[in-house]
Symmetry: D2
Subunit: 359 residues, 4 copies
């Protein structure tokens, strides 16, 4: 039941939706990396409610503060503690949640586990919990970029039944950020936005798929048995709120290929190794092979809808509950920086672990 | 790069395809559980090559020996060491593998990582590595069954494009074992077997989906953030050889539902809580809600095919390689006990961790 | 190089002497424990500089704030984040430390390790780092007391060559707190205080021994091999600043007994087991036997002295350095709550781990 | 209650005195180290009973077998599994132990913890458990020697009241091995041997001190807070059977120095840093400073004595028990390779962890 993630580059997140704030301690970051709040805040802004017309309007600046672990603009090698204060604490908006469990939210399961819960804004089940991940992920991304030449790009691949075609070899962060739905294909993005607005208008919600490509990972990262690179990525992605599935490379659709069709022929040019196709998704036997890593994460439609639904109260009596107040009809645009952050945390940890044992 | 899995109930596997043998150390098993080799061997027999006409014919008995951790037929609470000797060591069958990398196998990535590999039979990348997992999983399954009333049933849901319809509430181990392809639906099983034999006949291979249902997990197991039950299951499944995807509950197909359609209404009868539907798959916010847990794992077609394929040699020069000798046209029947084992390891570890903090 | 401690009840500390503050995240605390800042602050006050005439006069209130993990005065089972702001940041007092390494301080070794250091007030090598430990330890002590009936009493046993005789079966916290040197024997305490004042007067420092007794631990906590209770206590104590030794039960002086003299006869009265002597110190083979646990920690004299000493500068040129400003002539009175905290962290973690596997 | 030790270079030991055997899995060893049983067996022979006239005469060859993790004489980077079969299984010699608890042995505490124990030869509490540590330690020592130029020498410093004077800068393994008591000072060794023989003759036992020096550790290994190098060494040493104390550098005797006397002046010659004295014992603030590391471990007299002693039976009724059969009057000669092994395991793990984060 740990709130920590990673082995060498290890983060611990804390905080509820309501209370002093939310934060993260990053332990194991290499020393002498230039780092300030300016490296962190942009990703928090991408995660933040209220950033565009299609996301939930909670009004918080989510301003990050680095409390330790840096000196004169560089990391010390000691724990980096970061905090974001909670601001928008209208707990009256949640009064009904004190006595009723929201369907398909973790209200009931928290009670089943702990016998107690902070019902204000969902407490630790709130998506605010991901602030710590995104802040830590921003450091991980910087390390990957500056020390290893690794680049991660996540984007919205599908909303409900609207799917984008994206070139994984060329897609850029700028293209992703060019639309508020974070789909780099402008025309598809427009249709997604229209759908989200329509769905929100009728108090409902939709899910979809976030796809990610990681370019520049050298061959050799990962591990052969339990800590396979794809296994740690799968855990990272399924640890995100509302995620229900993960696949890598050919994934679920690879089932409709035979082995002969699926295998990636290996070639070399002047001792440089590559594969002619990349159905493996850049990882073979748990270890990167130098090709781009790409994977997909399925997110279910958000559980909060503006309709009356059957549920029980805290006395385990049947009742109904109708969502009110904030309503995020589609979590995908805000999930994009979360996916990137988790991918970065997995990769930087594996980079350092590979370095420890094998280099 | 750890070869260990689990926190409280923690296993460490070891062994290559060729060498002294393969095995596992189980640390953290509760004391006073009745245990002997008879509890382990049946699952190893289900995992073993040569068990039926549709799996690879490697001739090894895979007889397990418990070397420590039990006394007079009961566990001591100390580490349980189990070993299976390697027998069928025809390394000449692998001579060509000494100098060439098999496409979509981990031969090249092992070299990229370690700069050395045991090319005989794939060394540690061999599916023999899973013997330790299955042996440890048999203990985990026994603990779950006897101490917690939890039952795990995995089966072959889909081979290539042939999909079975299976009732998750009633499917039994006996039904699964009634067909050699481990699909509980007899008619579909026959078509799957025919397909596998046809594909093998032309030296090719096919993949598919293993589905699992876990019944009897009480509400409250799991954790809210990184160690979500579905996250640990995802990692466990993606750590299996040839797996490429995981989804839980509504999974990838849940994307085509809206929030209103997707939410599971909560009801209570005499204070007993249940949901009217189970799109969550028995886990909400990382914590079990008392409903059956069900998930799917996608396995790619086996990489070894009996055709000439492009690859490189160990000098990084282009060449070709043609599979010969053993050929497993479909890994799914043997993957079933592996999936069960990994699910059991995740669940028993979470059971003990929940007990530690919350009970 | 982890800044975390414990397995199930796991803490992560962060913070430098100068910067935003210092703090700790406690992960794995059981839910529903009543908890507020009032449970934490008293131990921080016992650790704080300026609390009496014989400790260093740094002027900081060290007021703790609980930022997460509690709701309506009870723990939630989620991470408890606690922070103390830094106040007394006279970095000019440390200007010379920017360019010179203090002898027998960790200035040089931090540079050797990280290639960078926060020289202000010692950065993370400052004794302020222990604030997080003491805050977390206060929670651990409360859990031990309320849920397990375990009581920990630490006291100053020896300062330089002045040694107290203390009855381990009866000594109380109140007796310890009755003297500013935290030696429960009033007459010896007076001599210790006089010595410390004399030593401080001549700009020098002295070390000594803190002894601890733990009463009420049931038989069965601990582990048989690496995680022996005494091994984890040893690690905990040697992780404290300035500690140089640890022994338990008969310890180093047990060497002058033969086996026949040293063995503790076991007796039972109405099935209640006890030993006639307790040279084992309450732990046999790594596991508690129900007798009081007692151990000693040796602390070296504080490295900061008001004399000119030979050292090198940051260019690795020979120079000298003279301590100035704050000067703690004896760390022992403030070390007492640190020792208690670390003992409590070890014990509560073992209590929960024992519960997980064996109960 | 883990049977694992280390983070990156991580070992897991298993096995009881009676049963299939004892062994260890070493996970995280770097690849391409030349390794065969010849590198392991010598240390096992130094640990083995029956090696000289002053140790217990149990007749077992303790022949180690490497089961996995090497190929053509070099490590693969995969888990190295090593096993020693049990041979001398005269369980009748232990019949009385089935119903009585030996005083100051872990018989009673194992029952208190697990509710079950293997009473044959002490089961997992047997000193045979250390075989796995010594085998793994031999690999660690080889790595330290070949890759880092680090040398570890342990020796018997004191038996009962007989103490040797040993030059830590020059003492060699050959000198240590030149006497059967493993004290490098020949004259003192003779007196120690005579004492041990005399004590054994009257059915009693004696303890003493093993001292260790580690030469060649570069400045920068270790960590600043919980995983201080001395903290991990302390845990490692207190995890050895019969150990009761640990101190490092000036240790307990440093208490009788003032700060001014205790501080190690830092000097540099041509940018090479050293200290004029080494009261710190080669570690400052948890991190090595490049000076030799030296520490002491106190071992109590062996609990098995040939006299009738008060104890209880397994029904918790008072009775007496008289040791018979094997009797090791002094554990120190055999403890020397155990101490070396544990020191090596700590150091190699810290070397790799330092490499991971800081290099």
């Amino acid at each position: 039941m740990s709130n920590s993630f990673g082995e060498v580059f290890r983060i611990t997140t804390w905080g509820e939706s309501h209370g002093g704030g939310v934060g993260v301690v990053v332990d194991g970051c290499p020393p002498r990396l230039t780092l300030s709040e300016c490296d962190i805040q942009p990703d928090l802004d991408r995660r933040r409610p209220g950033q565009s017309s299609i996301v939930t309007p909670r009004k918080e600046s989510d301003t990050v503060q680095i409390l330790s672990g840096t000196f004169e603009g560089r990391t010390l090698g000691t724990p980096i503690s970061m905090m974001v204060r909670n601001e928008d604490q209208r707990s009256e908006a949640y009064a009904e949640m004190a006595t009723k469990f929201r369907p398909s939210h973790a209200d009931y399961t928290y009670i089943a586990k702990y016998g107690i819960r902070n019902w204000q804004g969902g407490g630790r089940t709130s998506a605010r919990e991901t602030i710590g991940r995104v802040a830590a992920g921003a450091i991980a991304k910087k390390l990957l970029r500056e020390r290893f030449g690794v680049e991660i790009v996540s984007f919205v691949k599908q909303v409900y039944d609207i799917e984008a075609k994206v070139n994984l070899e060329t897609v850029t962060l700028a293209e992703v950020e060019s639309t508020i739905v974070r789909c780099p294909e402008t025309e598809t993005a427009k249709r997604m936005i229209a759908l989200i607005e329509e769905v929100r208008g009728r108090g409902d919600s939709v899910g979809g798929i976030v796809e990610t490509v990681v370019r520049g990972v050298p061959a050799g990262w990962g591990g052969p048995v339990f800590d396979r690179l794809e296994a740690d990525l799968a855990k990272a992605m399924l640890s995100l709120p509302a995620s229900k599935g993960f696949d890598i490379g050919s994934g679920f659709s690879g089932i409709l290929l035979t082995g002969l069709q699926h295998n990636d022929a290996i070639r070399a040019q002047q001792k440089k190794v590559f594969t002619k196709t990349n159905r493996s998704g850049g990882i073979v036997g748990g270890i990167s092979n130098g090709e781009p890593i790409y994977f997909r994460v399925a997110f279910k439609p958000v559980a909060t809808v503006m309709h009356e639904q059957e549920t029980i109260d805290t006395d385990f009596e049947n009742t109904t509950l109708k969502g009110r107040g904030r309503h995020d009809a589609c979590v995908l645009p805000r999930a994009v920086p979360m996916v990137e952050a988790m991918a970065a945390l997995v990769l930087v940890d594996h980079a350092l672990r590979h370095h420890a044992q094998c280099e």
